[in-house]
């Protein structure tokens, strides 16, 4: 098996091997440590000139990456924890994503900012958050969140080498040790892979089950929990669902359109349940639901969201578990909808 962490590490190595314009900047990157979560392991040994371990200066390293990107390089900046993205938010919002448009198309800033997000590690209120929703809707920013259904490293490599938008690449921490799925491990599912403008979308249903009565949608690690919920809903409650898993969280289709795979699933099921690890209000799920309502109108029979509680994430295991969405939460929300 290949873990998400290994896949991401391979993706970085492949990007470095393929293109000399690729650089990596971040805190504690040097081997043998290789970054706090080890995603960057081996790079400083193999590419000592292009891996720059940095001072603890999130705003400046992101800004330095931006300047390098502006001048033709392909930098990747590693933020040790997504919680610290707030420290570089000005660079991202007022410079990086502004330059291409405000300079009237004459500048590009192809920087990839990688960062782990999420809880379930007991790190407490400031090292466990899922903050990407703060950046969804920033014009000019591509936000990607890999999952286990396709190769995360390949997605990362393509984000670095094959597109020119600034990217926030969100890696859920709990996803790192999970296995990247294969045809064999997904053998119970019918899997359809479609494509947004840049990244894959997966639609899953259990083989040989009746027409779906509910569409589940989730991204990143929560897509794992939702897949488990889908299976249990079928076997334990005879509620048959489809699961739609996007990889690109932003930008969304223009003019308020729904992601086509999600629309297609909703045409079949008429019900939408979203699950996310960000806090409940004003989040990713709310946007999906609004789009679904706009496009399906009264054909949409029920909607619901599962998300994190609106409170700081406690360090104690039982309290942390209670604050974050679980398989049980998804199952009980689904049961209330059909």
């Amino acid at each position: 098996m290949t873990s998400v962490l290994e896949s991401l590490n391979r993706g970085l190595h492949a990007a470095f091997a393929e293109d000399e314009r690729v650089y990596l900047i971040g805190e504690d990157l040097l081997d043998p440590y290789g970054g706090a979560f080890k995603v960057s392991r081996g790079l400083s040994t193999q590419y000592p000139d292009r891996v720059w371990t940095s001072p603890v200066s999130e705003a400046a390293i992101v800004g330095v990456g931006a300047g390098m990107a502006l001048r033709g390089l392909r930098p990747v900046v590693e933020l040790m924890f997504g919680d610290f993205s707030t420290l570089m938010a000005d660079q991202l919002i007022n410079s990086i994503t502004k330059f291409p448009a405000m300079y009237n198309g004459a500048a590009k800033v192809p920087v990839v900012i990688r960062t782990p997000m999420g809880g379930r590690r007991g790190y407490g209120p400031t090292h466990s958050q899922t903050l990407e929703k703060l950046y969804l809707g920033v014009p000019g920013l591509r936000v990607l969140a890999p999952n286990t259904l396709s190769d995360p490293g390949e997605l990362l490599k393509r984000a670095i080498l094959e597109q020119d938008d600034p990217v926030l690449f969100v890696e859920n921490k709990v996803l790192y040790p999970k296995a990247v799925q294969t045809a064999e491990t997904l053998k119970d599912f019918e899997v359809e892979q479609t494509q947004t403008e840049f990244a894959p979308v997966h639609t899953l249903r259990l083989k040989g089950t009746p027409a779906p009565v509910l569409t589940l949608s989730a991204y990143g690690y929560i897509a794992e929990l939702t897949r488990e919920a889908l299976t249990r809903l079928a076997f334990e409650h005879e509620i048959f669902c489809e699961l739609v898993v996007p990889t690109q969280l932003a930008p969304l289709p223009a003019n308020g359109a729904l992601e086509p795979a999600l629309l297609a699933s909703l045409e079949r099921s008429g019900r939408l349940l979203t699950a996310e690890e960000g806090t409940f209000s004003l989040g990713w799920g709310a946007e999906q639901l609004a789009r679904a309502a706009q496009h399906l109108g009264n054909r949409l029979q029920a909607v619901r969201r599962v998300a994190a509680a609106e409170q700081p994430i406690p360090a104690a295991r039982n309290l942390e578990d209670a604050a974050l969405p679980s398989v049980e939460d998804i199952i009980s929300a689904a049961r209330e909808m059909v």
Partner: protein, 296 residues
């Protein structure tokens, strides 16, 4: 180098900026422009003296008060007027406005201090590419209050970025005098990071030219960050009609620190009159063209 060492050429650049900016201040109340502006009147010798030393491919990062930097860099007056008017022919097609310009290797942003890491990153990129290009970053005294500037100085020094930090200390940030916003000295801020810092308190373009020549020579022979602190004077309002200073103090600055008056004494009267007339008509023509240009 843009061969600007002779007095007439320097004067021409000073006068271009002055006349451009005066036109902006005069026309704003008439509704000719939309949005905001920050004029460079009184500080012209800084941009002219420093940017005269640029080579092709060198990079400039500027701030909200960027018109003078842009014109001294070689930017087009009509394009800048048009940008301020929100016209399709503007430097950035009317999208950026007064504070957000990009042309060739010139970039400006109105978010104070935010350009510091980006300029350092650009300098490091050029160093890695082996292009020999260097970066000039203009900062005001007010921008020195931003934390990201210090992160950037640290990184510039650690990683040997070929960059010249030019601080234009006009002793005021919007309405706040520097004494109310800055503890310690400007030079020591750079020296703490092992960045050599030169200081000049002058409005004489020959002096800024010479001080900058020294910095550029050093930067080109031993690439690494350097700082040039230029104590200077802002004659006009921060933006428009928002000067809270004592008018007598401004009069005093105008009488003693005017880069045009100081430098004009080196030209003979007839030559100066001829240059003034030429600049007046060039700027008037640029303004008229921009006015006639289409909306985006």
């Amino acid at each position: 180098m843009r061969a600007m060492s002779d007095d007439a050429a320097l004067y021409k650049q000073l006068a271009t900026i002055r006349h451009f900016e005066q036109t902006v201040l005069d026309a704003f109340p008439k509704g000719a422009f939309y949005g905001t502006t920050h004029t460079y009147i009184g500080q012209e010798a800084n941009a002219v003296g420093v940017l005269a030393h640029l080579h092709e491919g060198d990079i400039v990062f500027s701030n909200h008060r960027c018109h003078g930097h842009f014109l001294a860099y070689g930017g087009d007056a009509r394009g800048l007027f048009a940008e301020l008017m929100g016209k399709a022919t503007g430097v950035c097609g009317g999208i950026g406005g007064s504070q957000h310009l990009h042309w060739k290797d010139f970039y400006s942003n109105g978010v104070l201090g935010s350009t510091a890491p980006i300029a350092v990153g650009a300098a490091l990129a050029e160093k890695r590419k082996g292009s020999q290009a260097i970066v000039v970053l203009f900062l005001g005294d007010g921008a020195m209050g931003e934390g990201v500037v210090y992160e950037s100085l640290n990184i510039a020094s650690l990683w040997g970025a070929p960059i010249l930090f030019v601080v234009e200390n006009n002793h005021i940030a919007q309405t706040t005098p520097t004494e109310l916003a800055m503890a310690g000295s400007l030079a020591s801020r750079f020296m703490a990071f092992n960045i050599p810092a030169a200081e000049l308190d002058s409005s004489d373009v020959r002096q800024t030219y010479t001080a900058a020549a020294h910095e550029f020579a050093n930067l080109r022979s031993a690439p690494g960050p350097r700082a040039l602190i230029l104590h200077t004077a802002r004659f006009g309002p921060h933006s428009k009609g928002d000067d809270t200073r004592d008018p007598a103090a401004i009069e005093e600055l105008r009488a003693t620190r005017d880069p045009l008056a100081i430098h004009a004494t080196r030209l003979d009267a007839a030559e100066r009159t001829a240059i003034d007339a030429e600049i007046h008509s060039t700027i008037a023509a640029a303004y008229a063209q921009a006015e006639a240009d289409p909306l985006p």
